[in-house]
Symmetry: C2
Subunit: 303 residues, 2 copies
Amino acid sequence: MRVLVTGGSGLIGRHAVAALVEQGLEVHLVTRQSGASSSLLQGATAHAVDLFDGAAVDRLLDQLRPSHLMHLAWDTTHGFFWQSPNNLDWLAASMRLTRSFVKAGGQRIVGAGTCAEYDWTDPALRTGDCMELGTPLRPHLLYGVAKKSCFETLESYARSADIEFAWGRVFLLYDPLENAKRLVFSLFEAIGAGRRASCTDGRQIRDFMPASEVGRAFASILTSPVNGSINIGSGEPQAIAELAMHIGRLFGRPDLVGLGDLPSRPDDPPRLVPDVRRLFEEVGYRPAITQSLALQAYAQAMA
Amino acid sequence: MRVLVTGGSGLIGRHAVAALVEQGLEVHLVTRQSGASSSLLQGATAHAVDLFDGAAVDRLLDQLRPSHLMHLAWDTTHGFFWQSPNNLDWLAASMRLTRSFVKAGGQRIVGAGTCAEYDWTDPALRTGDCMELGTPLRPHLLYGVAKKSCFETLESYARSADIEFAWGRVFLLYDPLENAKRLVFSLFEAIGAGRRASCTDGRQIRDFMPASEVGRAFASILTSPVNGSINIGSGEPQAIAELAMHIGRLFGRPDLVGLGDLPSRPDDPPRLVPDVRRLFEEVGYRPAITQSLALQAYAQAMA
């Protein structure tokens, strides 16, 4: 079993690579420049190939002939990716990569989807139910539309080409290396510096997962025989206020959590919670760390 | 107004090009090889560019800077295209072409969709209703899935990039240059040679359109301000048996139409009829010829 990972040096990818290496698999990753490195990538072989260069991708796949492909690469530039025209380029690159992989004898593909593929106006989100796999896919922004197009086309192609295909839908994650404007980072940054962290009322229910666990979930999916779409989440939804207070208490300063300082956004769904039964029951994923430990590690990484 | 047409030498494309030239527009077309020519393409400028070569497409668009793009090119190899892996390549090429077109200042895109994007198991197809634009999009084969992905991604992109986008869904067409295994060609061929043409019972209701009219409909859509999906059809659905008998009578040999010789396919929907109100009422398309004249022209072209 030889695995090629794209986006392997990204927030999720580096943890997926580490989890695959730990399982003793032969892991290769595509990086934009040969310099990219992280201790998490030790034991994997990096290849500097531009995924937008179809001929170069063909050559790499033909040379490596991986049996498994974990395709995580996509533009996720904070604040920009939702409506970025780059989503078209990534959809195109994903199609070409798949063709190259299958031509080179590849057998199983795992791709990265998103909770933004779902219909966030679905009434189930107001009545307390989870986003089940039967929740309608009705994305409102280009990122979700392009990801859904990638999912639907690859799933149909995999059926006709008789290869295996799974699609892990990522919900919310946090990581010390994430963009400084993201919620968890900004909470740590403000409270760690003794400043008040302004929040909404924080009543929105979400399922946050450390990026390391999202990476481990992808590794579990890759080595499982499960096909189709699989929600990736901790299975422990919580109010954003609860998470924020947890971080406040880590620093002994829950008073710095400014719940209600900011108005709620009217388009912010009250619940965005995945049904994770497939991940836990069929794939057999189990978390390695609790949220408490993950947040402690986050604090240490930022110190 | 400068128009670039892809697939301009194809069954539909050559008629679309002729209709655009007739309207006095500056028309350019992309062809696979410089040799491709047809009297219908006179007045248009052909460019031999491989649509899978992103750099070459970029150069062409940058040089031409067309205001309008009519993107008809796709793999439609008879008997092969439904599940062909080439559908992934065409989805990718469509994304890249769109990016190049918009980067070069393009303003309006018209793409070619298919009735295969719709859910053919929709109960409306059994109760006599048309395929309205509200009929669920639930394609069953890769061709329909890839076309739907192209439609949804480009529609979302066009909204975010503030360009115009329309999508003409093609139903059934006939043309003397079509593949010899297609229904109308095989009817003409057999009956014209005095042989019995074996058919099913022919009770399926369809909307057949000459390729010349499909091309004219695309030209009307391009020069209209209408956006979104538009079914392309004659608005005159008929039983396949009726069309077959029409062809039989053209040769004075209705006795050669072997209705019921072949078993009906269980997956063949009883009705596949577009609601064409948008095309006729909003776009303002009007047919140039009747079906009778189109079939007479077909017979002459084959003689």
